[in-house]
Amino acid sequence: MLTKRIIPCLDVRNGRVVKGKKFDDIIDVEDPEILGKYYSDMGADELVFYDITASNEKRGISLEFVEKVAKKINIPFCVGGGVKTIDDFVEILRKGADKVSVNSAAVKNPDLIKEASEKFGNQCVVLSIDAKKVDDNKWHVFVNGGRTDTGLDVIEWANKGTALGAGEIVVNSIDEDGMKKGYDIELLKQITDIVNVPVIASGGAGEMKHFYDALKSADVDGVLAASVFHYKEISIKELKDYLKKKGIEVRI
């Protein structure tokens, strides 16, 4: 049976992992490939790296980490952050990533999804959506790090994105992000109900039950989290054991 995926997310700036220093037993480790290997050994099913390098000039150098990660780990990984063009896809995939995620650039130019999926296959194209609740049962797509409301309805955008060829949807709840009160189950439910591609929940994980709720109640295919793993509040192994006991299919 296809298992649910547990996906740690790492932010990378100028080729170094941000927050990497918070690991207490591997002090001062900021190398994406070493942290990637660490998570992979702990049982992560996949990894996501977001490149948050601000200047375009430094971005090319920053992306060199992708090659190092590809050499070091043997599980799939996705790279996102600042992806704007087909050339960005080419560069990241060539360096060895399995998937590329697009966010704001796809809102501005939806054809980017179509072009990329036709060129590389839809399994390579992940549509990342920053969602914020604007009314009862209504969420809008936000861009620019959650500052700008595009007016786009999240459900409609998810539908359009998959029709254009996105092979996976990552839903980041801006409201829940960093709150540690759980994923936005209502939003996720509505998305898993309508799209026929894997959906990954992001934003809000604080305890193991939150992962279970998203996987069980919203039937998402994977759960993404950053700080609970980085700060060792939850270990991946412990989480997987817990989920398995609760009847969720996980890879152990």
Binding site: M1, D45, N74, G96, V197
Partner: protein, 206 residues
């Protein structure tokens, strides 16, 4: 010489790295002569069947691969590379494959999410030297929207996703992995290790 066929698609470097870790040194090439005279050929693949078979034919690599297969030396296809080994595919139309294994490539059942993406367990159907480190229900990483439909005579192991999906197939010296062993953690590494040992045995006995 061990060869990875380069036909301009897919992420070949991670396959090469994984093979190297399994003790198989390879060169990446689109040279027909090198393919025909290789000791081992690996056919990678990401993308659509139509594009892949088109590119192989354009460069005359389809013939080189078939000639190589006739030598009896090990030929391995991964993911789309495995699908190319079959007779025909219905992805974006109808296209002939290399025809080294009888059967067709058809789309996955619609009720399931497509692509079939993630870790799924392998069920062993036939004993084989390739599976010597594999135990029942170990997980490997799949990413595909089409699968091989055949008599399943060639099936060594399968997974279930709405249908029985052939995951490891073998018809004599022609071998295919539907999943990505190079992305399947230790389980995948062990499968490649067994492959490496098989290749070495073949070379030393011939």
């Amino acid at each position: 010489m061990n060869v990875i066929v380069d036909y301009g698609l897919g992420n070949i470097n991670s396959v090469q790295t994984a093979l190297k870790k399994a003790g198989i040194d390879t060169v990446i090439t689109d040279d027909k002569k090198k393919i025909e005279n290789a000791e081992f050929v690996l056919l990678p693949g990401v993308g659509a069947f139509r594009d892949a078979i088109g590119l192989l034919k354009e460069k005359g690599l389809d013939i080189a691969i078939k000639k190589f297969a006739d030598t009896g030396k090990p030929l391995v296809g991964i993911c789309l590379g495995m699908q190319l080994l079959y007779e025909k595919s219905y992805e974006y139309g109808e296209y002939d494959g290399l025809g080294l294994i009888p059967g067709e490539i058809v789309k996955l059942e619609k009720e399931k999410k497509i692509p079939h993406m993630g870790w799924n367990n392998l069920k062993i159907k036939k004993d084989d030297e390739l599976l010597k480190y594999l135990k029942q229900d170990m997980y490997v990483y799949f990413v595909h929207s089409y699968y091989a439909k055949s008599s399943n005579d060639e099936m060594l192991a399968y997974t279930e996703y709405g249908e029985i999906i052939p995951a490891i197939v073998r018809k004599g010296n022609v071998i295919g992995f539907q999943f990505h062993p190079e992305k399947s953690g230790q389980v995948g590494a062990n499968l490649l290790k067994a492959l490496g040992e098989m290749i070495n045995d073949y070379i030393s006995s011939n």
